[in-house]
Subunit: 635 residues, 2 copies
């Protein structure tokens, strides 16, 4: 049975890797771009759309604000990108926000960054998978009813791939990422050319599209100046979801081939450039072609259908959008377990998260992430629009802490050029801090309150775990010299009769101590005399103690006997040796009392009492019984 | 925590009773009639109705057949009653069908009786509870939507009462049973008087009653002779549900005060007389007042409303019907666990069913019965009409086997008058065997097939359990003399460092053997040298063995080491002593690896390897560490 499970595990996860293989699991720049940048690049699939949804109340005027808002976001993106470029060089061993914040701003800032990041990794999986499935259902509306199920399956497949290990992931992820990059470039070039050359087909009037969240229907027309400012800020806040994932490369410097920092910085530059072009291009095309967010079709799908026509190129765009979004979730599958293992190593998370599995992946972290993300997807019915207000708050908290940490770092180390580096990081920190305030202020009631609630609770949890481990370490630390030995060791063997199981336990008991006593709990007084007579005849040198049990409990008299011995200081150490029947088949367990288990549980919290179950395997012949055959002869 | 649970248990179930109290838990005749006869007597609440439902296709002609069919059933009842009277005297220690059939007809017949009885006890609970709730909803139709929930609560309350022990049950059950007897006598006397004196109000025409399964609507009018015979046989078969419970008294002879047999026989006579009068009376009144089975009101409720008017007497009738039906289920709660314990004692059922609980009740049997009955009630939506076709098949199988067994009994013992006694039992057996055939023949497709399927499967299960216990007994039997002792005992202690938990385990290990080895599994090669140096400095006389683990598994290298020792015959017996952390709070368990548990599971199926967990209680000071304080002085 066990070996069957093991074989299944091998088929699903592959054969185990030795630890020394770890060094070789590094990625080249092109592969690393695919694995680590998909989160950032793929956000063009929903960021423009999210701005449009917020601005929809403005009516047709909304389209005029999309490009300006996008330009502000891209400016911020470039600033943050430059800021992180400095981190990549300063922290070649992986400059995650947690590490940078903890090193420079103290433990509490580090934990705030960690809690914010973990929350956002979970949301990355939920948002990206939901967005990917939305790309799929935009092309094939017949799949709409299966949306949630498709999301759950996608999360499960991702988890499985990551449990198999990093290198295969790299190969699997390159093709769709580069397909998406090519298709987006083609879409933008073709779209801009068509628009400027006048070759663009006329956009369909908004009112004719029944499925669209029609601007005409929802538009309030002109609004007051203050309301306009609020709407633009909120649109900006939701559009900032385009910037999520920018930190992935600096967190993951160690997965790059050496020279890791240089390779990571180059890749980071490419990623920011691609994201900026795609995001601006999409927003410009949406404005130009008067695309409205729809209930059943994404904005990007509408642009694609419009520019590329309804043929093969459109379907390739949708397929690659779907795939890169599914892969974007993979960034979180790389980073969440890694951060979890760092926190576990620092004793802020359960130590099980620090262990690498058979395939060198941090298996437990992968499983936890998949479970929580699945829950989110199910609760929010796989709806990207409902999830995005929760998103990006955590990321901007980290941006701020990370860059603020870098400011302190430069002040301390005073390397050449530290002044302008500090200034760059300082400006970045101030800008992103402002964005956090805007995010919380404009999205609070839309769902950001959940994140505002969860992050502090998370910190309290991390601190509680840390307190436990610290206390544990101090309690278990042993500084004394050779321990004292016990003077007197008594072994008690509960017996229900003379059987092979009893004999096994008694043989073991007499092996480990001179002072062995058999205890018989008398639940049926009539049976005692017969047992006593058999026992005397058996004559194995172990006294039989009879414990009356008027209430028929098998366990209570044992506890009372041990209590009595300890009260009278009769023994330094008491072992209770219990015969345990090991059946051949699982259902046979139901036919036997689990007395050994209950006795163990009963004495678990008692000092200086140790319970040992001596297994008796049904259908086997114990070694101590081997000699009797010969003695009995060939009868 | 444990003591809190214990206190809760005391409040719910009461303080435990000593075994010697068992003798005093006997019942007088009047109380025994209440406890054991409620099943039989209460069946008047549904038996007449069930006949009417079957005959409904005959149209108004149906009413003319109800009384004749009832008369046949009562004749059969008297015959079976006389038959069982003989059993009560022949088996003063409890003449259940299982015992009688096994003693006289062999084990297989006994098991058939047992399987049939257990099935029927479960159905008794389901049918009676459903019928009781139907009596309630007849009076208060507003409760109809809560039917299933009410059934479940009633089963749970019954189980609870039975877990508290027998005597309280007797007191609780007498009042409603006698209330029902009084109300039924009053109903029949008043109904017959009104009918014969012409004082009866005119019955409402059938068509006016919208909720009734109207005869006019369903009636086919005249049917062929063969179809009529079939319908009458089926009506008879379903009406035989009136006879269920007749065997309860002879199964439960031992609960009577001495002289038990005489008291039981008298009580049996009373029970049969009451049942006969009630059943015939109800059928006659149904015919006389043209009562039709309704969807929302029972037949008995309609008769009651008609004869007693809509006032207080009617509500008392319904209340006592409800209560006696709930109590009827209690007959099964007395008999099912008792039969279960007999079967467990004979090794046909899990031995857990043979143990009396704190309150001297067979707790496990009560819990099993309640669970299965609850399932039935939920699956059949608390609908008596759907459940009854399954019912009574098992009971008549038992009647037949029990009486056939008595025939053999009389032939063997040849007491005075054995000839006519044998003849009486023989006629009874033949009659009930015929009824079994009629039952299966007419109700097969209505649900009886389920019972025809379950009873043989049950027998296979009982035989399988028996085979296991027999084999177990022969495998565990020990007939040899004093066992051989082990020559060489090696103790292995897996260590992860030098901690108090490790020291505890090592102290225990050195107490139980001279040959102790510490095993260090090297998952991080860098840490080994430091540990080795500390170990040498510690100098406790236990060698440190380092086991490399390139695949990072903590467990596999241990298994391989033990395998190697056994292959080279280095030890007769190997103990693996594992330190086990015992945290103060339950959630702290999540923060520690369950290594001790996994090691135990790993070696459970291996011969001559015994795993002992040495608990280390966080926050405690182990005894072996006590001396160091004094040595260290008041620093």
């Amino acid at each position: 049975m066990t070996s069957g499970l093991l074989r299944l595990k091998r088929v699903v996860f592959g054969a185990p890797y030795p630890t020394q293989r770890l060094e070789h699991e590094r990625l080249g720049k092109a592969t690393a771009l695919a694995v680590l940048s998909s989160d950032a690049i793929s956000s063009v699939a929903y960021a423009t759309e999210q701005i449009l949804i917020v601005l929809a109340v403005l009516g047709t005027a909304a389209l005029g604000y999309v490009v300006p808002v996008s330009v502000v976001i891209v400016a911020l993106l470039v600033l943050v990108g430059l800021s992180y470029r400095q981190t990549v060089f300063a922290y070649p061993s992986g400059g995650g926000s947690y590490t940078v914040a903890k090193d420079n701003l103290g433990v509490r800032a580090g934990l705030l960054a960690a809690a914010a990041l973990l929350t956002d990794y979970v949301l990355t999986v939920a948002v990206s998978i939901s967005g990917g499935i939305a790309a799929l259902t935009s092309a094939y509306p017949a799949l709409l009813p299966w949306r949630v199920a498709l999301c759950v399956v996608a999360v499960a497949l991702l988890a499985l791939m990551n449990l198999r290990g990093v290198r295969e992931s790299g190969i699997v992820f390159s093709v769709p990422t580069y397909a998406f990059i090519v298709m987006m470039l083609a879409l933008i070039v073709a779209g801009v050319w068509q628009a400027l050359s006048g070759a663009a087909p006329a956009p369909a009037p908004a009112a004719a599209r029944a499925d669209a969240v029609s601007l005409a229907m929802h538009g309030l027309g002109p609004v007051s100046g203050l309301a306009l400012v609020y709407l633009l800020l909120r649109g900006f806040a939701e559009g900032c979801s385009a910037m999520t994932g920018t930190e992935a490369i600096s967190n993951g410097v160690t997965v790059f081939r050496p020279p890791a920092s240089r390779n990571a910085a180059t890749t980071l530059g490419w990623m920011v450039a691609l994201l900026a072009v795609f995001f601006l291009g999409t927003s410009w095309l949406a404005q130009r072609y008067q695309v409205l967010p729809g209930l059943t079709e994404t904005v990007l799908s509408q642009i694609g259908r419009h520019v590329l026509g309804g043929g093969l190129p459109y379907y390739v765009l949708q397929a690659s959008t779907f795939l890169i979004l599914v892969l974007a979730a993979n960034t979180a599958f790389a980073d969440f377990p890694r951060l979890g293992s760092i926190l576990a190593h620092d004793r802020y998370m359960p130590r099980q998260l620090a262990a690498r599995g058979d395939r060198l992946a941090f298996s437990n972290g992968i499983v936890v992430l998949a479970a929580v993300a699945t829950m989110l997807v199910v609760v929010f019915r796989g709806d990207t629009h409902a999830l995005i207000p929760l998103y990006a708050v955590g990321v901007f908290v980290c941006f701020t802490l990370s860059q603020a940490g870098m400011v302190v770092h430069w002040r301390r180390c005073r390397e050449p050029g530290w002044r302008w580096r500090m200034a760059l990081n300082g400006v970045g920190a101030a800008a992103t801090a402002l964005v956090v305030l805007v995010q919380i202020g404009t999205k609070f009631t839309e769902g950001a309150w959940i994140v505002v609630l969860i992050i502090p609770s998370f910190i309290v949890l991390l601190l509680g775990i840390h307190r436990h481990y610290e206390r544990f370490a101090s309690e278990i630390r042993y500084t004394g010299q050779a321990p004292l030995m016990f003077l007197h060791h008594t072994v008690l063997v509960p017996v229900a009769g003379i059987t092979k199981a009893t004999a096994s336990a008694l043989v073991y008991a007499t092996t480990i101590s001179e002072d062995v006593r058999a205890l018989y709990v008398e639940t049926e007084p009539g049976d005692t005399d017969a047992l006593r007579a058999r026992w005397e005849a058996w004559d194995i040198g172990v006294p039989l103690v009879v414990l009356p049990s008027p209430f028929r409990s098998v366990l209570r008299p044992l506890v009372e006997y041990v209590d009595g011995m300890q009260d009278r200081h009769e023994a330094d150490l008491i072992s209770v040796v219990v015969p345990e029947i090991v059946p051949r088949r699982w259902w046979e367990h139901l036919l036997h009392n689990k007395t050994a288990f209950y006795i163990k549980a009963l004495f678990l919290f008692r000092q200086n009492v140790i319970v040992t179950a001596v297994p008796f395997h049904l259908g086997s012949r114990p070694r101590w019984d081997a000699g009797h055959d010969a003695a009995a002869g060939p009868v």
